[in-house]
């Protein structure tokens, strides 16, 4: 076991030096064999904590094969690709609306991307892309309207019709940034109520909101991305989906504790999965008042217990994971910090900021995440879900840039 406060790059270097010491206790193939013969032992990321406490790391590594992690929270960077099929005469759609929500049509004739946060042109924040996606999952009819300039091969200039999940060809979610590895706590020092993507924040430190599944969270249980990588099969909104890439703003270089977990948003995942197989229980449109529309995504990731070191990461509990409190009333990229807290404190319902007790609220749902970890556990136990080795690792190093306002000469 490598201990001490180390960055992800140092971790990878040490791992290379210790290559021969790092004998794999179990391979993915072995675990899948056990799934096949129904002998696999699966625990969720909450159960593993007490299991290790009772039986120790060695025994846990030997006896447990898979730990299921999960999260259920609003994830703005989400959306769906849809192919409608061709009408007769055909159309090269250039502007598209689904239930009056604009979809991006700058790709092939009847392909679009509908983003979760896109607002309705008629209902504003009460409806948006996330609600269109939810309605499709629910099997509800959705009004499709499109216009075009017409070409020789695509003469039609407009169309208005209704679609459902079952009338369209493909519909898959491709979410560029989901399952963030930790997030900040938001509070408000100003003297007015503010409405943010972290919820309603009352004046004078009236409350503080946080957003992570903590000890259940996928990337907090595999902080150095040893098992989760590109190609990993996951539970995605009720379907079996995949990690398709590292997420946008993936920032593995973030400061870490000795247990490997970062103290704020670090790694992230780009995910892909079939909308037609998703369930409204694990995907839900929502609106943050005066902020906008977004979507609750339910994600579960199985972590193979490949060796003892993996157990050391998996046994992480809320009290071991820290995050930082920021003042969201400061409308700048860099917000003042009010120190660090752990998730046990946050989940207790109140924390202290500047000597004052402040009530806390969670934006991501712990009970729903726990439910997902148990559903995934059952699927693995019943031989319905097999593990995959990743095709390529998530990058251990990635530039995290900000957007500066520059002239061409200053670049």
């Amino acid at each position: 076991m490598i201990i001490g406060k180390i960055s992800i790059l140092e971790y990878y270097n040490l791992l290379n030096l210790n290559q021969d010491l790092n004998i794999m206790a179990k391979t993915i193939e072995e675990i899948n064999e056990k799934i096949k013969s129904r002998k696999v032992v699966v625990l969720n990321a909450e159960e593993i904590i007490d299991y290790v406490k009772e039986k120790g790391t060695k025994k846990a590594a030997k006896e447990v094969d898979v730990v299921t992690t999960a999260t259920f929270g609003p994830m703005c960077s989400s959306g769906a690709f849809i192919n409608f099929g061709h009408p007769d005469p055909p159309i090269k759609m250039t502007k598209v609306w689904l239930n009056d929500v604009p979809a991006y049509a700058g790709i092939a004739a009847v392909d679009v991307y509908i983003g979760a946060t896109e607002l309705s042109e008629t209902e504003g924040m009460n409806y948006g892309g996330a609600y269109v996606i939810e309605d499709l999952v629910l099997g509800k009819p959705v009004k499709l309207r499109a216009t075009s300039y017409g070409t020789d091969c695509y003469p039609r200039r407009e169309i208005e019709t209704y679609i459902t999940r079952d009338t369209i060809n493909q519909a898959y979610l491709f979410n560029p940034r989901n399952a963030y590895q930790n997030y900040a706590v938001a509070t408000n020092s100003s003297n007015r109520t503010i409405y943010t993507y972290m919820g309603k924040l009352l004046p004078n430190f009236g409350n503080a909101n946080y957003c992570s599944a903590g000890q259940l969270s996928p990337l907090l249980n595999d902080p150095y991305y040893r098992t989760i990588g590109i190609g990993t099969r996951i539970f995605f909104g009720g379907s079996q989906g995949y990690v398709s890439w590292y997420g946008t703003q993936h920032n593995p270089g973030k400061e870490r504790l000795a247990n490997g977990t970062p103290c704020g948003p670090a790694g992230s995942l780009a995910l892909i999965g079939n909308l037609k197989e998703m369930s409204p229980q694990y995907l839900k449109a929502c609106t943050f008042h005066n902020y906008g529309v977004t979507i609750f995504m339910g994600i579960g990731i199985p972590i193979p217990v490949i060796d003892e070191e993996m157990v050391e990461f998996l046994k992480i509990k809320d009290g071991d994971i820290y995050t930082e409190i920021f003042d969201y009333s400061v409308q700048r990229r860099n917000k003042p910090s009010y120190g660090k807290v752990n998730y046990k404190q946050l989940r207790s319902g109140k924390i202290k900021i500047n000597g004052k007790f402040v009530q806390t609220g969670s934006i991501s749902s712990y009970p729903r995440a726990l439910e997902i970890s148990n559903v995934l556990k059952k699927e693995i136990e019943n031989g319905k879900f097999y593990l995959t080795a990743s095709v390529a690792p998530l990058p251990p190093e990635e530039k995290y840039s900000s957007l500066d306002i520059l002239s061409k000469e200053e670049l």
Partner: protein, 135 residues
Amino acid sequence: MIKRKLVLSFPENIVTKPITYKLVKEFNLEFNILRAEITPNMEGKMLIELRGDKAQIDQSIEYLTDTGVSVQEAAKDIIIDRNQCVDCGVCTSICITQALILDSKSFKLKFNKDKCILCELCLDCCPVSAIKVYI
């Protein structure tokens, strides 16, 4: 003689001032505290019923506002739609009387109606509109 149900919010620095006493003494109002939640170091909240002369009630509200107390008409009933609720818990940070809390074991939302002072602060904080008000 009229009757009004109001929600008063006290900023932390004036929580302890004997404001209520003054309402009775100076404005000659019948005054009934239906529910109250005052914690040191935090904002205080009170659901009150005032009975008295309309002009006197208006004056007392003016007095309260001047002292820094925010005054709001009380709603009739708050309902949580369990079919919509996803148990995120974001509403629990808004509810100062802790009528809305997360169960300490399951972290599921619990709504204790007896503690609710109908301040309506939680209404616009629920991302899935599971909190409803009856006026």
